[in-house]
Structure formats: structure tokens, C-alpha cells
Amino acid sequence: MDSSSPFRSSRIAPVVAMAAAVALTLAGCSSDSGGKKSEESADGASAGKASTPQMTVALVTHQSPGDTFWDIVRKGAEAAAAKDNVKLVYSADPNAGNQATLIQNAIDQKVDGIAVTLAKPDALKDVIAKAKTAKIPVVGLNSGVSEWKNLGLMEFFGQDETVAGEALGNRLNSEGAKKAVCVIQEQGNIGLTQRCAGVKKTFSGTTETLYVNGTDMPSVKSTITAKLSQDKAIDYIVTLGAPFALTAVQSKADAGSKAKIATFDLNKDLTSAIDKGTIAFAVDQQPYLQGYLAIDSLWLYKNNGNYMGGGEQPVLTGPAFVDKTNVDAVASFAAKGTR
């Protein structure tokens, strides 16, 4: 940084930036490969629009900001809302107390239905009882498969995380794995812990848990690298989210490890990694379906009195395996960011 006339340049920074961008484009700086131009125009699922009177539904989740998974849930909910002539009010907070306040907020707005995730069921018990008193139907999605009935929810859409973990454990057995490391990106998250516990339950080899700092990718990368070089016997890396699986690919190369990679949850980069064979398989709980069904079910209940699962059984959206054999069928949807 020069000491002479230091700030003038940054005051006009935006102007310079624009000028530079324009100049560079003119100078033929556009990319010949990739980029927006190569992206096909893709629309979301659409099936016309219901002629029923508009209703309002609140979707309150424990999403933390900027997570690819929750983005897909929300897109599913939005698609159902658009089709059913539903006004969707979305709100989220990872803190259970704040999530309860958001549900109370929805009750105060006198919405026609509420869809909630039960990551911390105890904290939401009271406010869900209030919704029942206010005669607002409540459905659950994503987390809380063992709690939704106790809390008096009408129906539930999601995956039993333990069951999903068990399914992955079985799959590891059939792949002939001996030692797996289960990478948890958020310490203390019950759903993630249940997945690893499920894997441990059915996997006949040994399982170890590894915690990484999910908000700092370079540290995720080096921590997995460290684990792989510490324990050369590891032949399977199990991650609990698509971005972490993709990072594990690099760790594997850095550590010179031959371990294979399996993961929970999909995104569009992950489907192409499965296609290329850098990632073996993924357990998909179909988050789009969770969001979609939660909203659609409230519409069905209001307009036709239906409830899925008969109010007794949860509606399971996973675990579905995506691997090289069926990735093609999923890839085009994942590219739109909806699977």
C-alpha cells in the first residue's frame, strides 16, 4: 500500500470495477467453457395450479443459514405452495427457543396450517399444544420421527436417521468395507449423531467418529487428511452432507489414501462426482419431497380431510441409494438444485 493519495482509488473502486469488467469483456475475456451460458434453462416441477381458495401455511425449520440441504426442502415446499394456491410463510432458526417463538408467531398470524421440524422436540412441545388449542393442523417433517406422535402432530414426512444409518452400514458390509470413519460436521446435532450410530450398529467392521468444523472448509479438508494418514486402515469415509463428501475427495488425494467415499444427502456437484466415480454412493432422503409433501398434505387435509400415514405411521422419504447405476435418473433434477 502506497502512502501517497491512498483513498482516492478505493472511492472510485466500483466504477473502476465496472469499467474493468466491461473492458475485459470487450477484450475477449469471456470464458469459452462452462459458466451460465452452458447452463440449460431449467424450470422446477410444475403441475398447473389448484382453483381452491388461497390458504396460508407456515413452514418453520431449524435450518442454519446457507445450507444446501435446507434450500432443497424449501424449494419443494415452494413448488407445492405454487401448485396448491398456498401462501407459504417460511422461517427458520437453529436455536430451539427461537424456533418455538417463530411457531408462536405463526399461531398469532392465524395461519391455516403449520409444518415444523422437530430437531429438539422438548422445546417445541408447549407451543405445538397451543397450535392444537387454536385448531391449527400441524405436520412434522425431516427430524423427529420418533417424537411426532407424542407431540400430537397429524402426520410426518422424513427419514428415520437411525434407519438410514443402518442402511448405509449394511451397504458398507456388502461393499466389503473393513474400517469406516464417520465425519460429523456439527458437533452435538442429534440427527447427525443418529446417522453415525446407525452405521455403527449394522456395519460389521469398525467405525470411528471424526468431528470437523463445518463452517471452515480448509480445516475440514486438513482434518480428514490427518485422520486418513493417522489410520491407514480406513477404507471408507462416510460424510453426512454433500459438500463434505466433495471435500473428502481432496483429502483422500492429499493423504494418498485408497479409501472410498460414501455420503448422506445429495447436491448437483455430488451427482456428477458419483457419475465420475470419485464418490461411491449417497443416501438420499429426498429433502424436496419432505418440503413438498408437508405443504401438500396440509392442503389435502383442508380440502379433502386426508392424512397420509393414517395418522399412525410416518411417511418415509428415505433412505434411497444413489450410485453409479441410477445416478443418471437423478442428475438432471439435481442440476436444477431440487434433488
Binding site: M1, S3, P6, F7, S10, R11, A13, P14, V16, A17, A20, A21, L24, T25, C29, S30, S31, D32, S33, G34, G35, K36, K37, S38, S64, P65, G66, D67, T68, W70, D71, Q187, E208, T209, L210, Y211, N213, T215, D216, M217, P218, S219, K221, S222, T223, T225, A226, K227, S229, Q230, D231, P243, L246, Q250, D254, A255, G256, N267, D269, G337
Partner: protein, 358 residues
Amino acid sequence: MSMTHHAEPAVTTPPAPGRKESDGRTKQRPLALRLLARPEVGVFLGAVAVYVFFLIAAPPVRDGSSMANILYQSSTIGIMALPVALLMIGGEFDLSAGVAVITSALTASMLSYQLTMNVWVGVVVALLVSLGIGFLNGWMVVRTGLPSFLITLGTFLILQGVNLAVTKLITTNVATDDISDMDGFGQAKKIFASSFDVGGVQVKITIVYWLVFAAIATWVLLRTRYGNWIFAVGGNKESARAVGVPVTFTKISLFMLVGFGAWFVGMHQLFTFNTVQSGEGVGQELIYISAAVIGGCLLTGGAGSAIGPVFGAFMFGMVQQGIVYAGWNPDWFKAFLGVMLLGAVLINLWVQRTATRR
């Protein structure tokens, strides 16, 4: 192995007293004690202690490639800890530094992708955006006289929200699109995210940048007028201004330096991982600040060094990965990290106290 190499620049000779004969009022203290009184020596010893500890506790650490991995982790913290430390010596700090890294990466990625331009266009614009954020932080702090805690807490929240909202608005997803097949990517990857071979060990290029930046920062701090200005504005702003130090320029440029660091680390992340998740980066600012504080920079400003934070960042990387290399029960991960860091800081403090006491 490479540790000992970095150790050397730490021992910069303390300014010569320039006194011929002691007249009895001031006793010449032994060299060892004078060395220990320097802010970076305590953390250097702490880092050595942690290093030796894991060398014994975790056999894989002795391997060259493990050390390269630990240094890589340290470098991604260390490159940001350097400008953060200089800013702290200058009496301010920046809570937006963690998310600013992601802002920069998102800007470069989305601009190139959406306009289908050579990725270098995105890289250059991201630099301007990052410097602009730094300028804005500094300008507001200087103009309002409010504590930088408040100002940068504001920008931290703004950036966190903007990262998410703008990414979603533009890409309709919360992560950016893969730009690895675009023109210029390979080149940029070579510069920001390549690795090279040293005796069969793959070494990440960020380690080189980290050490080079540290050397430059040390030189600037100890040998240039600008370095004096930094100490002066951090020590006492008013008296610095009275003796003709351009306080406004110094403070704003320091914030912009943090912006530069954020850009650099952001580019590294983008070209390593091809895509960026908009929710990342939160919490990293505290790690940068911790590395600087452990490295001997006072929270109140006016004291510190550029080489101290290098060891501070190394300790972070060493402890974080050392626990994994040692194969300890991961449930205790954070607790281990906390105990080790507190221990290191206490050693640091004890060394300083012992050294400055006669």
C-alpha cells in the same frame, strides 16, 4: 522438520540500547531475558512445546506429509491472522474478517459464472470489493470514532446476510456453481491453490505465501515509517496525530489490508473447492483474532509483532490436527483444543512475566 526453519526469523535482534557504560541506575539485563521479553518469543516457546508434545503423543506427526498438512491448515488461518494482527497493533479489530473471506470468494465465483467471463475478471473484481469493504470499515471507524467492535459487528452481520441472500437471488441455490471448467481457472488455481513437491512431500503453496507475507509484514513493522505509524496509532491516537502521524490513512489502510487478506484466502478456497457455500466463514474471525492474541498482540493495541501470529496460527493448526493424528476420542475435541490453547497462552504469559521481572 520445516518448523525449525521458520523459527529463525523470530529472533530479530532487539534494538541496541546505545548506552556505553552503565551508571548504576539502569542495569544491563542478560540477553536471554531481553529476548524473552519480546512478544513473539513466548508464543514461539509455546508453539515448540505443543509441537514437541504431539511429536511424542502422535507418531504420525513425525511424518513429513503430516507436517505439510498441519502447516497447510495453519497457513489458511495464518494468512488472515497477519493483517488482523497488524490491525490490532493499530488499535482496532475486525469481526467481519471471517465472512469477508466468503464474500470475496462468492463475488469472484458468481461474477465469472453469471457473465460467463474469464475467472480472472471475477478475481480482480473480488479484490476491489474486498478492499472496498475494508475501506468502508476503516472509514466508518475513523469518521464516527465508534469502537471498531460495533462497526465491524455491523458489517459482519450485513455480509453474513448479503452472502446468503445475494447468492440465493443470483444462483437460486445457496452455493455457487462449479467454475472449474471455465477459462482461466487452471491458471488461477496454480497461483492460489497449487502444491509442489519437496522431497516426496506435497507442500501447499499457501504455506509459502504465508511465510513470505509474514516476512514482509515483519519488515514493514520494524523497518519502515508505516510500521512506526501502526504502533503509534495503536498506542495513543491523539499523541500520534500530534506528532504528525496520518492516523486516518494508517487505520483505513490497515482495514483494507485485512480486506486484501480476506480476498487472498477467499481465492484460495474458491480455487481449491470450485464452489463456495454461502453460510461458511462464520466464527473464523474469532480464530484469526485468537491467533493474533496468542501471538502476542495486545487487545488494546500498540504492541505485538507479525511473526508472533505465525506461531499463533501454527499452534492452532498443530493442536487441531494433532488431536486427530493422536487418534484421541473425538468427543473431547473442542475441550482438548481449549485446554491446549489456554496452556500455551499461560506459558506465553509466564515467559513474559519472568522475562520482564528482574
